[in-house]
């Protein structure tokens, strides 16, 4: 088993953090895991993406050609990565920011108004955790519990303890969203 997950969006949307929390949870669950960011002259508002590979054997390449799950936090990310998603895979689309249709009939598509949910929860920055909650559910490898712990540890060490509760809500909302699947 080797599963690739790509998180992609604007810089500042918490793309790298969402991937890191997932990688950390997978590690705690005993999986082999790699996390690889896009790197270089990146800036806030530019594009950002990261790839997480979760496997039960040592991971060879941390680069994934055909991810099983794509989280597209904005339109350009959807255009760039959706053709590469594996057949039968899952695309989670941020319906708050993405208006274009996904031109794939052979994958599952989950439209979630990530930013609207985050706004509702009172913290616009937690859209990434709503997406991560849905990703964990779609992945089906482990429960949300290790993800909640990993999120808490990630935020706790960055002096953002006060954000833990709202991010917990965000993860739970995302996790419960899979019934919207079409």
């Amino acid at each position: 088993m080797e599963t690739g997950i790509v998180f992609a969006g604007f810089g500042g949307q918490g793309i790298l953090l969402a991937g890191k929390v997932l990688a950390r949870a997978a590690m705690e669950e005993g999986f082999e895991v790699t996390w690889l960011p896009s790197y270089g002259p990146e800036m806030r508002g530019g594009t950002a993406n990261c790839t997480v590979v979760i496997a039960d054997e040592p991971v060879g390449s941390p680069i994934v050609d055909t991810p099983w799950i794509l989280v597209a936090m904005n339109g350009p990310s959807l255009e760039r990565f959706s053709p590469r998603v594996a057949k039968g895979g899952l695309i989670i689309v941020n319906a708050s920011l993405v208006s274009q249709k996904v031109e794939r009939a052979d994958v599952r598509i989950l439209l979630i108004p990530l930013n609207d949910i985050a706004q509702e929860l009172g913290e616009p920055r937690c859209a990434n955790m709503v997406a991560l909650g849905a990703t964990v559910r779609g992945l089906g490898l482990f429960s949300l519990d290790p993800v909640l712990v990993a999120m808490e540890e990630e935020l706790g060490t960055r002096g953002r303890e006060k954000l833990v509760e709202v991010n917990r809500q965000a993860l739970l909302r995302g996790y419960s969203f899979l019934n919207a699947l079409r």
């Binding site: 790699t34 996390w35 690889l36 790197y39 040592p58 060879g60 390449s61 941390p62 680069i63």
Partner: protein, 350 residues
């Protein structure tokens, strides 16, 4: 306890745990996190972090700290390492132990910041001027990167030969779970009676790479090459994976080594008898074990993120006993396991 860390961070932490207390650098992508980590953590351990005015300055600060007996390190990426080469030659000539980390990116020239393995020649065949070698270690996982940094300090001190960690942008940037090695105690670092520590109550020590008398300098170099021969006898390291019954063995190091491991697993699932030979020390190169392998394996396929540099050492070791084809990518492009497997299938059938 396993922690999730970037390769760059794990190498920095391992250096601190190896007793490195003097780190000099000049920033460059894709090894920036190593600099950041050192800036944040080294002062807490009573160490010196110094961002120099240039790469040339940084390597010469390493020279100074090493001459004073400190465990010292610098890190950079390909173009920055080129700038450090003069100083590295001086370190080698003066018999000074130091660790240099090269998180390779694509070249030549400014190239780009994507992972590549085009600095193999530079690392293993000289790079700087003169008759010298570096101990060159090539990690393929974040775990191994941490372990090899610890080893680099030990080997460098033991032989008084500078050691280089040859990593690449992928290994530097990626995070993986790592079990960090235990920190060494200061008393575990062997004494350095040759160091410049103030000549109170003893004759002055001299640290230099300079001798105008060719006959005297020849003797210095002969002694140095005795040390190199000793390193070749004692310190060759490599890993073999599924080579026992292999009809084809992939030869790859670092990032390509780990990707080729996946290729071997995929090939085996399809019934192809494929193995992997992964050099861990690039110098000294594992020529002997590769030579032995070439007596029973008909094809040794070298795979690199370069136009074929280690390939030359493979061919020198094999001396025509087996087929030695090459597959490589250029410019920072990383081949997928599938692409390599297609290449493998040109030589073996299930």
């Amino acid at each position: 306890m396993k922690v999730l860390m970037r390769g760059n961070e794990a190498m920095a932490e391992a250096a601190i745990r190896a007793g490195c207390r003097c780190y000099f650098c000049y920033p460059i992508t894709p090894q920036g996190e190593l600099v950041e980590y050192m800036a944040r953590h080294l002062p807490r351990h009573g160490g010196v972090f110094l961002q120099a005015e240039s790469e040339v300055a940084a390597i010469n600060m390493v020279y100074g700290a090493a001459a004073a007996g400190a465990r010292t390190m610098t890190s950079s990426s390909s173009p920055g390492i080129s700038l450090k080469m003069e100083g590295i030659s001086y370190l080698a000539g003066a018999r000074l132990p130091a660790v240099i980390v090269n998180v390779m990116r694509a070249g030549p020239g400014l190239g780009n910041i994507a992972p590549a393995q085009g600095d193999y020649f530079q690392a293993t065949k000289g790079g700087g001027h003169g008759d010298y070698r570096l101990i060159v270690l090539a990690p393929s996982t974040v775990q191994e990167a941490a372990e090899l940094v610890m080893l680099a300090f030990d080997l460098s001190d033991r032989y008084r030969v500078p050691a280089m960690i040859l990593a690449d942008g992928m290994l530097g940037q990626m995070m993986e779970p790592v079990e960090l090695p235990e920190p060494i105690l200061p008393q575990m670092i062997p004494p350095k009676p040759w160091a410049l520590t103030g000549a109170k109550d003893r004759a002055p020590n001299v640290v230099s790479s300079f001798d105008l008398d060719p006959y005297r300098f020849r003797e210095i170099l002969r002694a140095l090459w005795e040390i190199y021969r000793e390193i070749e006898r004692n310190e060759v390291r490599w890993e073999e994976y599924e080579t026992g019954d292999a009809e084809l063995v992939l030869v790859a190091y670092g990032t390509m080594g780990r990707i080729c491991r996946t290729v071997v697993r995929q090939a085996r699932r399809e019934g192809l008898r494929v193995g992997l030979f992964r050099p861990i020390t690039l110098w000294p190169f594992p020529s002997e074990p590769l030579r032995e392998l070439s007596h029973r394996v008909p094809v040794l396929l070298t795979v690199e993120l370069s136009a074929g540099q280690m390939w030359e050492d493979v061919r020198l070791a094999v001396e025509g006993r087996a087929k030695t084809p090459f597959y490589g990518e250029l410019g920072g492009v990383v081949p997928t396991p599938d692409e390599i497997l297609s290449e493998v299938k040109r030589y073996v059938r299930g």
